[in-house]
Amino acid sequence: MTAPELTIPDLEINRRLTVLPMQEYYTPGHRTCQGCESALVMRYMAKVAGPRTLVTGTTGCMYVANTSYNSTPWALPWAHTQLGSAGSSAVGTAAGLKALMRKGKIPDEPINVIAFCSDGGGGDMGLATLSAAMQDTRYNLLILLYDNESYANTDIQASGMTPWGAVTAFTPSGKQRRITHHRWKKNVPALLMAGHPTGRYFANTSSGFGMDLMEKVRTALDVGGPTFVQTHDPCPKGWDYDPRMSHELAVLAVECGITVLWDCLEGELRYQGLTRQQVEGKARRRPVADYLRRQGRFAHFADEDIDFFQSRIDEMWEDWILPGVLRVNQTPFGRFPRAASPPGNSEAPATPAAAVGGGRG
């Protein structure tokens, strides 16, 4: 066996990674669940970031399960930050480095600053800090949002990025109300991309597509400035499936068109891999039922719920101005088609009875 690469070779931006280092900077010794895809994302992220990197991480699975005292998996410097502080920890770290380097208090060298957060920490509580970080072009930083679609460490509560209808600890399916999670999943990467024209790089990827993920992390770090990468990470505990199926579910989500592999470098939108084939009409999207039916959190779905879910996904591919990315319906001027309504809500979505959704009558 040849000696492992000691450093990451210089990579041209956007070129596919052809050589990966053998070194791991996220190592065994953590307590994440069997089949945890987010731990895999951490490993990919650390691998391509390399040793000249500082990582901060918000409270969540990747804090509590990862870094028990005396058993840290991080071979990189890592620091905890509060749940809503991904953006501010990155800015504070980068600002500190910049001041110290400019004043000659530490050697001037490129150091990667990465802050990771979860869907709850980044998509809900810390969203304002992500927004502020994406605006501050003085600093080189990457925010990585690992989206496992619930507050998984606190016993699976719905976040703003939990899929519509899913059962969580706070959104059970009951005898009166079949569906109690009424919010459609928040689209954070597109939200950040659309609202922050000075952000250098925004990307959406998936734990099931390791090469795509690593390429996007590396691209973000190479282009510099404020950058954002989101990953879609199946979670056996939160989604209720056999841990063996984690990778398959991540791939299925892309095949069904639910997770979209895209990035936007300096304002240029591109699709990758399977998603690109779907956009170009070379691959068909699988029915979302293939994805939903494999997870316990959707086991209560009636056919009409699946139909509704499918219609929303169809709309995102057929009507959105940027398919799968940005919702502005492509309609002739003056026509305003209605988006599909959730089951049971079609008549009067504003009434209290209907607003609870799911319940029939």
């Binding site: 028990s68 930050t81 502080s85 800015v91 504070g92 001041a99």
Partner: protein, 434 residues
């Protein structure tokens, strides 16, 4: 707004520094320039924010080299300061009133992470209703968390204490954040003659910030703040406690050094005792109430009353030994709280509870009378202070402790059974509201 005086670069200033007429906030800004602070995080709220206005102007004019980050909330502001401090940058933050509260989580972790961030609290009443005026409840909210707390009285003291704060906070034996409290409006925005020292002297007094083996840098791959529970938390708390205990000695040492380096007069590091030598009665408070208190003491002394004033400077660590020796010999003491602690012991303020507890173990203790005054920026006048002293002497003359808290300068009856018992159907004693 008062504009900051444009100070000349170091080379042109006199070796002994110079004098300026500046506000309390501007005085802190001058100190930050002299300290070569690396990262400042700001978020607007009155009245503290004029320190950030002054600093941003100095940066724009090339008088100071620092990263000034405008955060999108106080929580982020304090997190930015915390993380900048973690990479080894000297950091400064600040806030007022509910802004300080908004960032509470970040304040707590800054203290428990033992990061020597320095903050300015321009004391302001908490909402609701919205009010700009001073109350000390904002800064007092962190009193149990491991923040060093200081209340200044003048712009000069604000500048001096900012230097002292970094020196003490960054000392290896301490490594705790320090919040400097300054009465909103009364001091943040009033001008004083301030002696601005020379930068070379400041560099001599405050050595460069060194976080040592906790520095967050690729050369030092550490994991900061991993999760631990009942197996280690208690030991970590005990370490913070030990640091706070050690802070007393470090403060005394740094204050002595400060006087030597800058050639200032002798004074107690922890309390400001005014005409206490032969005092039979004492009034006690924090912040600008000290100025009024001293004038009132002068006036009462002229009338033959043996009164002194004690101003607490360091609230954390609390100056129990000083209070013991100062108040152990007086007959009565009136505690003037510019804060409240509803439902607390005797319904008094925070300061009362702390002072009463500090004096309890003493074999001979004075009659201690709690007062609440000057809330929401209401003026505490010299007459108010005399009124307080009158009550203290009356209570003391009765020969026993009477911890009934009196509100000074409040409209309505001092004590109304209808209010205080909740029996609103009974008519008020003496008829209508006074």
């Amino acid at each position: 707004m008062t504009t900051t005086q444009q100070t000349a670069p170091d080379a042109a200033t006199a070796a002994s520094g110079h004098e300026e007429i500046i506000t309390g906030c501007d005085a802190v800004a001058q100190a930050l320039r002299l300290l070569d602070v690396d990262v400042l995080a700001g978020y607007p709220i009155r009245p503290y924010d004029s320190v950030m206005t002054a600093v941003s102007k100095m940066i724009a004019n090339g008088q100071m080299d620092a990263e000034f980050v405008i955060a999108e909330s106080e929580h982020s502001q304090f997190e930015i300061g915390k993380h900048a401090s973690l990479v080894g940058a000297r950091a400064f933050i600040g806030s007022s009133g509910v802004g300080w509260m908004y960032g509470m989580e970040a304040l707590v972790v800054t203290a428990s992470l033992r990061l020597p961030v320095v903050a300015l609290v321009g004391n302001r009443a908490l909402d609701d209703p919205g009010a700009f005026g001073v109350e000390h409840n904002d800064a007092l909210m962190v009193r149990d968390t491991g923040w060093l707390l200081y209340w200044v009285e003048s712009a000069q003291e604000a500048l001096d204490t900012t230097l002292l704060a970094y020196r003490v906070a960054e000392d290896k034996r301490v490594m705790l954040p320090c919040a400097l409290s300054m009465d909103g409006a009364f001091l943040t925005h009033s001008q004083h003659i301030v002696q601005v020292p020379d930068a070379a002297l400041v560099r001599r007094f405050v050595p460069p910030y060194d976080l040592g083996d906790r520095r967050f840098h690729p050369d030092n791959p550490v994991s900061i703040a991993p999760q631990f529970n009942e197996d280690w938390v208690m030991e970590a708390r005990r370490q913070s406690d030990a640091a706070m205990r050690r802070a007393r000695g470090v403060i005394a040492e740094a204050t002595a050094d400060f006087r030597r380096v800058f050639g200032r007069e002798e004074e107690d590091p922890f309390v400001d005792a005014y005409r206490m030598d032969d005092a039979e009665y004492a009034l006690l408070g924090m912040g600008t109430v000290g100025m009024v208190g001293k004038v009132a003491v002068d006036r009462m002394r002229a009338a033959g009353r043996k009164v002194g004033f004690v101003r607490i400077k360091w609230f954390r660590p609390f100056p129990r030994p000083e209070l013991r020796s100062l108040l152990g010999t007086v007959k009565g003491v009136g505690i003037v709280d510019r804060d409240y602690s509803f439902g607390s012991n005797s319904h008094g303020g925070v300061l009362y509870t702390e002072v009463a507890a500090a004096l309890y173990p003493e074999p001979r203790r004075p009659v201690i009378v709690p007062f609440i005054a000057g809330l929401g920026g209401r003026e505490v006048s010299v007459d108010n202070m005399q009124e307080i002293e009158d009550v203290v002497e009356q209570v003391t003359a009765r020969g026993e402790q009477d911890p009934t808290c009196r509100w000074i300068g409040v409209r309505g009856p001092q004590s109304d059974p209808r209010y205080d018992t909740g029996n609103l159907s009974e008519p008020a004693e003496g008829g209508a509201r006074r």
